[in-house]
């Protein structure tokens, strides 16, 4: 399980550099992501290269995940819970959803970090355990709701 105990000041510039490279591209693509939510055919008929949009987004996601995992280890469910909470808060206009997801994700991490220090006094519970405790129920709720909608 990952833990924030591994993080240190030296990792900050590296993470920052990757963020500076990735985030502007994501924000620039926000209108296209919004339209992609209206359906792939709709997006393509409006002139969006869907394959390129997806590939570029996956590359950025891969880079960002890799850098986080490299410094603090595997901390699951943050990427799942954050965007879903953000979506409930601001809807799916990606101009707002992308920054909101970042903010909510950070907030989830901070809250989990505080909880990790408080659950057992004197013991630092790995933060991955805390996020899993919160994330798993959310994950199942999402899966069940999606199946309910399909029926």
């Amino acid at each position: 399980m990952g833990s924030l105990a591994r993080a240190n000041a030296h990792s900050v510039p590296v993470v920052l550099a990757v963020l500076v490279v990735c985030v502007p591209f994501s924000l620039a693509a926000s209108w296209r992501f919004t339209v992609l939510r209206l359906g792939e055919e709709r997006a393509r008929s409006l002139g969006i290269d869907v394959e390129r949009l997806r590939t570029a987004a996956l590359l950025r996601i891969g880079l960002l995940s890799a850098i986080s995992v490299a410094f603090v280890g595997v901390i699951g469910f943050v990427g799942l819970v954050g965007p879903h909470i953000a979506r409930m808060l601001v809807g799916e206009d990606h101009r707002f959803l992308l920054p909101a997801s970042m903010a909510v994700g950070a907030l989830v991490m901070l809250t989990a970090s505080i909880a990790a220090k408080m659950i057992i006094p004197g013991v630092l519970v790995p933060i991955g355990v805390v996020t899993a405790l919160v994330g798993l129920p959310v994950f199942f709720a999402l899966v069940l709701r999606r199946q309910g909608g399909r029926r």
């Binding site: 209108w31 002139g47 809807g91």
Partner: protein, 283 residues
């Protein structure tokens, strides 16, 4: 890129399909001219939607589709998007975007068509024209099927493309909305644009279309004005139904289905030779 006012849409030697499956082979269509509403009809799996998607370059295709002197395959995606509006059969479920946001997004990503008016205002105008301005702040996942269809139409015509392709625009609408939407679509054509709509409802096609194009099994069966095309012979050959076509009091065509006809030899569209229809082909 400029499209002249009277440029016609022509399809020649078109092959189209999905993956390894070819749905349409060597299809050529009569020119589709601005100002006229063209209805694409045919039984299920005739290739109507595939043809429409091919015209919008959404499926794998080969052949020639031209708008006047422009080969649409040569256009950049953004230029094509500004030229061709496409309305898919359905919008996805579970999208928490407001109706207005969705139309704004559609206008914003499509290059061109800008005339200085703020995008939000243009989007609202489109919704007002379609009579759904009251839904503007409603999110898409709370709309009924019919409302979604109207919103989807709004997204397609928001940039006023010279060519509009509609995949069953009224399939989920009640009669009043159906009438309203067909009025708008017809008006869009009358304003000098090319409109092609896949239609399942033959009565609706007879009422609204200026031209009807009949497809069957990926081939052209016939094309022309509704009165020439909608005949008992065509309905028996293409749809396998025994039907009467009658003019009612105001001269409007009415199709009365009396039953199904057993499979029988049909005229092959390409060579004119007789092609026996066997049970195997219906599997």
């Amino acid at each position: 890129m400029t499209v002249s006012q009277d440029a016609a849409l022509t399809v020649r030697g078109l092959h189209a399909g999905y993956g390894g499956r070819t749905v349409i082979e060597r299809l050529s269509l009569p020119a589709m001219v601005p100002g006229r509403l063209v209805a694409l009809v045919g039984p299920n799996a005739a290739g109507k939607s595939t043809l429409l998607r091919a015209m919008a370059h959404l499926v794998r295709m080969r052949g020639e589709i031209r708008l006047g002197g422009i080969d649409l395959a040569r256009l950049k995606p953004a230029e094509r998007a500004a030229t061709i509006g496409f309305m898919p059969q359905s919008l996805p479920d579970d999208v928490s975007l407001s109706v207005l946001e969705s139309v704004i997004a559609a206008i914003t990503v499509t290059a061109g068509g800008g005339d200085g008016t703020p995008v939000a205002e243009r989007a609202l105008d489109v919704l007002e024209d379609l009579g759904v301005a009251d839904l503007a702040s409603r999110t898409l996942n709370l709309l009924s099927g019919g409302q979604k269809q109207v919103v989807s139409l709004a997204q397609a015509i928001a940039c006023a493309p010279p060519v509009l392709l509609l995949d069953e625009p009224t399939s989920a609408l009640d009669p009043a909305r159906q009438f309203q939407i067909m009025c708008i679509v017809k008006g869009y054509a009358v304003a000098g644009r090319i409109v092609v709509a896949v239609m399942h409802d033959l009565a609706l096609a007879a009422q609204w279309a200026d031209e009807i194009v009949v497809l069957t099994r990926g081939r052209l069966h016939g094309a022309g004005p509704p009165a020439d095309i909608l005949t008992p012979g065509m309905l028996a050959e293409v749809y396998g139904i025994a039907a009467r076509v009658e003019r009612c009091s105001e001269g409007r065509l009415q199709i009365l289905v009396d039953g199904v006809v057993p499979p029988r030899p049909i005229r092959a569209a390409a060579g004119g030779q007789i092609e026996p229809v066997t049970r195997r082909e219906f599997r």
